[in-house]
Symmetry: C2
Subunit: 372 residues, 2 copies
DNA sequence: ACGGTAATGAGGCACGTGCATCATGACAAG
DNA sequence: CTTGTCATGATGCACGTGCCTCATTACCGT
């Protein structure tokens, strides 16, 4: 046990010190570009290659003193293990799964397309991706599916699912079995540190700011359309939106969220009713990830062009709407970037590497007619 | 000669066919995830591993008939060479150089920082990056520097330089010597196909659209500030900007570009004069990549807040200006993405791989207060 | 002093490819 | 027939790491 612990520490030290020393090392043998190997490590630490191997790979049966000696050598030489050689030796490949909701329209379609695209891209790194569709309204079945996965078949899972205690538990158990996990786009509460997606509060605020700016000082009411306010993403977007409008656009007032529940007829009814009751609407914020249905309805109802419309996510439909000027702006997260980031992060977990967070930060994009 | 030619063809075929076949192959031995090796290739083609090697690496002395047999085997098995193993065998590492202008303020500083960051990130792939500062006003010295590079020291160069025939020639010669080259941010005319950067016409149009929208129907004059209109980037931004304003905002009129030549005193003089002559200014577009000086001047002159200000590039200064509301919007290209994209593309050229273009497309970002 | 055990050394094979050397067979020109 | 050249085969080492087996050493309790 203590052996394992100390080895874990070794990895932390290793990562932290590497950055500076790798440069030192470079300037030393600039011409040859030789990086130290485990053999050099063994020589410097005064141990055998077998012991170096034991320390590097966290095998037990090594005295703390020896572990420290090896770690010192790692620091001194700026050793970085050659991942390619390691993977070659193990003939390792990475099997990842994207667990995505079954429903969904174009946005999810984009995600799936990007996954296939990324698979080609990452094939050189021996990364394979599969998509598994889950029933997002049945936490039990999701949990059961996650429980069926084992380290031998799959190296990591990116999970897009509404938060639920059952799912959260299944994820925890999956991690304990040595499978890398990553909340994807939809976050599970309390797992904030490590996930792939945008800050939905900031996204909502950006929608509010854009809507407010485009309204250009007019006074009036704003309509907010959501699929459901039960998801955490919607709540956060709404929070950011309201705060921005309240603080910076006193002339505007946002109505309570209209929930479509993904049902077109219901959407038509409630949007129509709201338009009738509020003749002073100057802007519409479509908060749902799938904007097609609500936006179509609004266009069909011949809402005047002067009413500003903001929606989320770039899809073929929203792109076209932007060009047709039936939509004024899109708040988007880049689907390709989301997918690639998830893959890189999962691979980073498997390789016990730190990832460059600035690369993995998903930007909140504002799309207008000119920059799609 | 013909041997070399046919081998080149082989690589094209190889790349094209791979995508589909790799999938087939996967479904065949799904459990083992085994990819065919050169040994399998040799067996299938009925030749020896040595001949396979000759074909794969374009060595001469192989009959066309045999080349074809090997190519057929590649297609049949969906062979993909294991880059990691290959690099291991050659103990290859990639030395790249970013040739950047010596002058420049914060934007170039960001670029340099991102290069260092990326170097850490890509160190696992044996990629090393150096920055070499060039004198952007002296095409001769740039050309001389490029001529001094050879394949043995450097695998690829990303070049940010104003266009000039001398530089263009030097780049061509560099390519002929087997060094990968890539125009970076600033493009050289006629090399449009392969470069890293944004579409500056679209960027200018986006600036125009944003400025127009934020002006909210007001009528008046727009000030445009550039460093110099001699660079192609500036011309294109201006083109896109003007077209957008003319077509969609008839109430707005853009003044001729004020050129600062990077000189603060001159900038202060011409901006002051322009403000005095045009009391109806409703918006200012700072087109230069380095916005600090002009923006400071405008803030110092107490131009009213109601005058919309748009600038390019995200730097510590412009970020702060956005927060202070002395700036209303930024049109940006992500520096980190630019750098990583350049590295991936250079590496792709060296490895004779095709790159996933959708990943390498640099987005035109719109930054407001809420999404920095 | 004994056997047992924990810590370490020594060495070797495997992974897939690049690269080099030498041998072999075919075939043509002299 | 010889000689030379071309196309190909056969083989082996190297790259850096993971993983395995089999010594060897030292120290422990009895």
């Amino acid at each position: 046990m203590s052996g394992y612990q100390s080895t874990a520490d070794a990895w932390v030290t290793y990562g932290q010190i590497t950055d500076k020393l790798i440069k030192m090392n470079r300037s030393l043998d600039q011409k040859t570009m030789l990086r130290p190997t485990t053999k050099d490590l063994a020589k410097t630490a005064g141990v055998s290659r077998a012991t170096v191997d034991r320390v590097l790979n966290g095998r037990e049966g090594v005295r703390q003193e020896t572990v420290d000696r090896v770690n010192d050598a790692i620091a001194e030489l700026g050793f970085v293990r050659n991942l390619q050689a390691a993977n070659l030796a193990r003939s390792q490949s990475y099997q990842f799964i994207f667990a995505l909701p079954r429903s969904g329209d174009q946005f999810l379609g984009q995600i799936v397309r990007r996954i296939q695209e990324a698979e080609t891209l990452f094939s050189a790194d021996h990364v394979w991706c599969d998509v598994h569709h889950i029933n997002e309204n049945d936490p039990h079945s999701i949990s059961a599916y996650l429980s069926s996965l084992s380290k031998t078949d799959v190296a990591g899972v990116a999970i897009m699912s509404p938060e639920s205690p059952q799912v959260r538990d299944a994820i925890t158990r999956l991690q304990e079995r040595g499978v890398a996990t990553l909340p994807f786009i939809s976050n599970q509460t309390l797992m904030d540190a490590d996930w792939v997606g945008i800050d939905n509060r900031a996204a909502g605020a950006t929608a509010g700011l854009l809507l407010g700016q485009l309204a250009g000082g007019r006074r009036g009411t704003l309509m907010v359309i959501a699929e459901s306010m039960q998801s955490r993403d919607s709540l956060e977007r709404r929070l950011g939106f309201d705060r921005e409008i309240c603080e910076n656009f006193p002339g505007l007032r946002a109505l309570p969220s209209l929930e479509t529940y993904g049902n077109a007829d219901r959407a038509r009814a409630i949007i129509g009713a709201s338009l009738a009751v509020h003749p002073d609407i100057v802007g519409i914020y479509i908060m749902a990830s799938e904007a097609r249905t609500p936006l179509s309805i609004i266009t069909d109802m011949h809402v005047p062009r002067s009413v500003i419309r903001i929606a989320h996510e770039r899809t073929p439909f929203t792109e076209q709407a932007l060009r047709d000027r039936t939509l004024d702006g899109i708040i988007a997260q880049d689907a390709g970037h989301l997918v690639r980031s998830a893959i890189r992060r999962l691979k980073g977990i498997v390789d016990r590497r730190k990832t460059l967070l600035s690369q993995e930060q998903i930007r909140i994009e504002i799309l207008l007619r000119t920059n799609i």
